[in-house]
Symmetry: C2
Subunit: 302 residues, 2 copies
Amino acid sequence: LPAGFFDHPDMMMTATDPAILGPGLLGGSIAMALRHLHPGSNVRIWGRRKEAVDFIGKNEIAAVASTDLAEVVGGADLVILCVPVGAMGELASRLREHLAPGAIVTDVGSVKLPVLETIGPILGNRFVGSHPMAGSEKFGIGAARADLFRGAVSIVTPTAASCPEAVGRVRAFWEGLGSEVRELSPEEHDRTVALVSHLPHLIAAALVDFVCLENRDALNFCGAGFRDTTRVAAGPAKMWTEILLENREAMRAALRSFGRHLAAVEPHFDDPDALDAFLSRAAEQRDSVSVRRNRSSWPTGK
Amino acid sequence: LPAGFFDHPDMMMTATDPAILGPGLLGGSIAMALRHLHPGSNVRIWGRRKEAVDFIGKNEIAAVASTDLAEVVGGADLVILCVPVGAMGELASRLREHLAPGAIVTDVGSVKLPVLETIGPILGNRFVGSHPMAGSEKFGIGAARADLFRGAVSIVTPTAASCPEAVGRVRAFWEGLGSEVRELSPEEHDRTVALVSHLPHLIAAALVDFVCLENRDALNFCGAGFRDTTRVAAGPAKMWTEILLENREAMRAALRSFGRHLAAVEPHFDDPDALDAFLSRAAEQRDSVSVRRNRSSWPTGK
């Protein structure tokens, strides 16, 4: 471990020199959250495009903003990969030689098994995957917010080969941004997000598409319910195509099972008690989600 | 028309003595919006339960709050039925004898053909149906908000027998609360809301239920996407059972077609370009919804 890693009482186990690779919605939000909650940390951002890096420099979002990977990664104690999953393998290969002794690497990818299969052979147990369950249908650093991770669940995905100390540092990093950390294996993670993130996205997209095909004009009559139910469908298509394809086996299974589940609802229209029981159960279950969310609190920071 | 109906420059054609029957989320929000935007109006509320009426009296939400139908309806120029659709027939029969000359009646029911079939024979062309596409998963006057109708679409559903002047007054009423009015026939209305309101509700409920059956623990990992996609499923089950059953034929048809549409998504997992095209189309269509919504403006009122 770098000297001084535990010397910052307000930061606990959070990194003092975090390097964010990829200045998009998540990378930008991590930088803003660190600035707000841990003003002592020395945030470094790497971006592929000069314009993005210049924007960060101009807005004083990070201490170091550069297109030079060696400059950003050298000296960092924690590197967070915030690029698309498809770009992570090449980036991990390039950054490896610049990693300081004791530095560890995590990522924010929406799937974990494909990331592990790509990065694991390159970085070994210096890599521990993670996935903050926070986002927006908007994208890019323009949509970044310091409170994006506040109260959100961040999933950390160690394997049997992971070093407990590295896992602890990645956990502490996400806790330090205000999120609640849970651990899942990469396989469990991918099955879980297929259910609570990827399938809902696909359903929202299918619903918008269906309504347009059935009656384009109906969109002029929608209320807050339709807008919320389909909000995620406005997300960037290219990114979601990549995410869904990376989790394709879990997605195919989830889509088929959900199709059968939905078909089983129709008979309830012959049985008011069954329809009421179905809707009551769903309402109760959905309420439990809000309760969990509302328990979370915002760390006060320094 | 009652004398003075057009004498309030800030109220245009809005009713001066509106009677709201049923002090729930919608009835309460109408009263609060009238108070805020049209402080000159003499708002009257009828409730079945004494406690609800007392609550309104204590909070000065209306000029008259009573469990006595004759007291509230007599002297009103516009009566708005805000009770469950199943209770409207009996209420219409009871209020008929108290209606002032020239007074008209509308409602806020989520289905329009069943309401027309029930109330039409009782009130004839003094009744013009409407449906403000605004609501919440919460219910009761405690969730009422003066801006509930702001920027929302309110659908008015005249028939060939409707008197244009009565239709105009109902339109002006909803416009006066800040909503954008569109006209549909009762049949068109019911098919449209099956698509943009009732089907999304059923899908949201099925999604929550499905995730719980597949992996109850997955709910602990959900982000803002899942919460928004399923928000409406937390709505009152009894009310939604009634709404869905009243629109049962349109719902069965919509459910079956949507099931086929969703099943047709799976082959896209073998064809990245098709998946990208599908998600791009949905994102573009969904974006158009936000654009329309953002155009709406809040009337300044008096």
